[in-house]
C-alpha cells in the first residue's frame, strides 16, 4: 500500500517538471528556427531596401515599412476601440451590475471569446465592410477600419474577462474605507478600485494587444491587403496590409530557401521583437507600480 503511494508521487513530480521545462525548450526551438531562416535575409537584401516604401516581393521590392505601418495602424485602431469599451464593461460587470445581471453578462462575454476568428472575418467581409462603405461613403469597405473593428471584437473578451477578475480580487475593505470617507461610488471605482487592480488590468490590455497584433485570418480577409504607405488620417480608412497577413498569404507558395522566403521569416523576427518589447515594457511598468503601492500600503 505504502509503496504504491510513493510511486505516482515521483511520476507526477517528473511529469510536471518536464512540462515546465518543455515550454522553455519550445520557445528556444522556435526562436532558433526563426533566426536560422530569417537572418540570411539581412545578407541577401541590403538594409536600406527594408526601408523602401514598396512591398512587391515577386519583383524584389522588400520594403517592410508599409507592412509595419499596417500592423501598427490596425492594432492601435483595435485598441482605441477595445480598451475603453472593455474597461467600462469590466467595471460595470464587477462593480455596478447586480449579481443576476453579472451571472448572465460574464458567460456571454466569454462566449464571444470562443468564436473562431474566421467566422468573425466572414461577417466582416460580407456584412460589416459593406455597411461601413455605405455609411462613411468609402471607396471600399475592405480597410484598416474594418480590420480594427473586427480585431477589437476579438480582443474585447480577453480584456473584459481578465480586468473583471482583477477588479473582483480587490478587497472589499478598500471600497468600504473609501465610501466611509465620503467618496461617491464613481470616485471609489476610479480612484481606489481601479488603481488597486492596475496590474491585472494592464495584463488584460497586453493580452488584448497580443491577440490583435497576432491575428491573421481576419486581417487577411477584411483589410484589403494593399501595402500602402500612411497618408495622414486617411490611413485609418484606407486598405492596409499587415505583417501577419503577408506571411500567411505568401508563405504557401514561396520557393524554399529563396530571398523572399528568408524575408518572410525576417518579418516573423520583427513580429517577435515587437511582442517582446510590448511584454517587457508592460512587466516593468507593472513591477514599478506594485512597488509603489506596496510602499503606500505598508
Amino acid at each position: 500500500m505504502q509503496k504504491s503511494r510513493i510511486d505516482p508521487e515521483i511520476f507526477i513530480t517528473w511529469l510536471i517538471k518536464i512540462t515546465g521545462y518543455s515550454a522553455i525548450v519550445f520557445v528556444f526551438l522556435i526562436f532558433y528556427f526563426l533566426l536560422s531562416e530569417g537572418i540570411p535575409a539581412i545578407r541577401e537584401v541590403s538594409f536600406s531596401e527594408f526601408f523602401q516604401q514598396r512591398w512587391y516581393p515577386i519583383e524584389d521590392y522588400f520594403g517592410l515599412l508599409p507592412l509595419l505601418v499596417g500592423s501598427v495602424i490596425v492594432t492601435v485602431g483595435a485598441l482605441i476601440i477595445a480598451v475603453p469599451l472593455g474597461l467600462l464593461t469590466a467595471i460595470y460587470i464587477a462593480e455596478v451590475a447586480s449579481p443576476r445581471t453579472k451571472e448572465i453578462l460574464k458567460p456571454l462575454v466569454e462566449l464571444l471569446g470562443g468564436f473562431p476568428s474566421v467566422v468573425l472575418g466572414f461577417l466582416g467581409l460580407l456584412i460589416l465592410s459593406q455597411y461601413l462603405r455605405e455609411i462613411f461613403a468609402l471607396p471600399t469597405g475592405l480597410s484598416a477600419l474594418t480590420g480594427a473593428l473586427i480585431l477589437a471584437g476579438i480582443a474585447l473578451p480577453a480584456i473584459v474577462s481578465i480586468s473583471e477578475d482583477a477588479l473582483d480580487t480587490v478587497p472589499r475593505s478598500y471600497r468600504d474605507a473609501s465610501l466611509a470617507l465620503g467618496a461617491t461610488e464613481w470616485q471609489t471605482i476610479w480612484w481606489v478600485t481601479l488603481p488597486a487592480a492596475k496590474s491585472g488590468v494592464l495584463t488584460a490590455i497586453m493580452l488584448g494587444i497580443g491577440r490583435a497584433i497576432g491575428e491573421t485570418m481576419v486581417v487577411l480577409m477584411v483589410t484589403g491587403n494593399a501595402p500602402m504607405m500612411p497618408q495622414g488620417l486617411a490611413t485609418f480608412i484606407n486598405p492596409t496590409r499587415t505583417m501577419t497577413a503577408t506571411i500567411a498569404a505568401e508563405m504557401g507558395e514561396v520557393a524554399n530557401g529563396s530571398t523572399h522566403y528568408h524575408v518572410l521569416f525576417f518579418i516573423g523576427i520583427v513580429l517577435f521583437i515587437i511582442a517582446l518589447i510590448v511584454n517587457v515594457s508592460a512587466s516593468t511598468f507593472v513591477f514599478r507600480r506594485k512597488k509603489r503601492s506596496d510602499r503606500i500600503l505598508s
Binding site: 521545462y21 471600399t140 469597405g141 491587403n225 504607405m229 486598405p239 498569404a249 504557401g252
Partner: protein, 296 residues
Amino acid sequence: MPTNIRILFFILLLVITACSSQPGSEDPSSESSEYLNNVGSDTMVNLALAWAEQFQASNPQSNLSISGGGSGTGIASLINGTTDIANASRKIKSEEIDNAQANGIEPNEFVVARDAIAVIVNPNNPIDILSLEQLSDIYSGKINNWQELGGDDRPIVRLSRETNSGTHVYFLEEVLRLGDKENKTLFSTDTLLLPSSEVIGTEIRHNPNAIGYDGLGYVTDDMKVIAVSATSTDPSAYIYPSPESVNDGSYPIARDLFMYTAGPPAGFVQQYMEWIFSPEAQNTVTELGFVPIISQ
C-alpha cells in the same frame, strides 16, 4: 547540479535533431506503377480534380492524388521530385528550369487547356468596354475615377489576386506592361490583393466602385464582364471573352494552362497525359469554363 546538465543536454539533443531532419524527410515514391501525384495551380485545381475523377472511373485500379497550392508550389514540387505532374497557369521561369536541371530534372511542357481572363465590374457600372491601355492605366494608378472613362463620378477600387497567383503574374506582364519585357510598370500600391476568387467576387457584387479580373470559369451572372480590345481606336475590336474568341485569338487576355512532367513522360504518367488530350478529357475543359485545345 547533475539534473540541470542532463536537461541542458536534452535541449541540445532536440536542437540538433531539429536541425538535421529538415530536408527531404518524406519519401513520395510509391512503388505502385498506377500511382500519380499532381500538384499546382489553384486556377487549374478544379479541372485537375475533374480529370482525375473521370480517369479513375474508367481505370479503377489507378490512384491519383491531386492538390492545389499555386503554380509556384507545383513547379517547386516538380523540382524537388515530390510530384509527377505540376500544373501551372504560367510558363515555367528560366531560373526554375535552372534549379530543376541542377536537381537532374528536365521539365517537359504540355499545354493542356486555355483560359480567358475576364475583366469584371459591378452590374451597376455603366462602363461596357475598355482597351488594354486603359486597363494598364487603371491598374498602375494613372486613372483614378470612373468619370475619366465616361462613367459615374466614383473612385476606382482595383482588385487583384495575391502576388503568388499565376493569374496575377500574367495580368502584370500582359496587361499592365502590355507584353513589353522592358516595361517596369507595377500595380498601384492601393490595389487590393485579395486571397481568393471568392473574395474578389463578393466585393465586385457589392461595390459599384470595384474593378477586378479572374479566370472566366469564376465569373458568375451577377458580375458584369467588360469587352476588351488590344487597340483603342477600332470600336469593333472590343471582344467579350468566350471559348470562340479565345481560340480564334481575338480576345487579347487569354493564356495557356500548362502541365509539366519530369522528363518525357513514361509508363503511367504517359498514359495519363495522352488521355488528357482525348476528346473525352477536353470535353471536361469546356464544362468547367475553360477553353479546350483544338487538335484538328
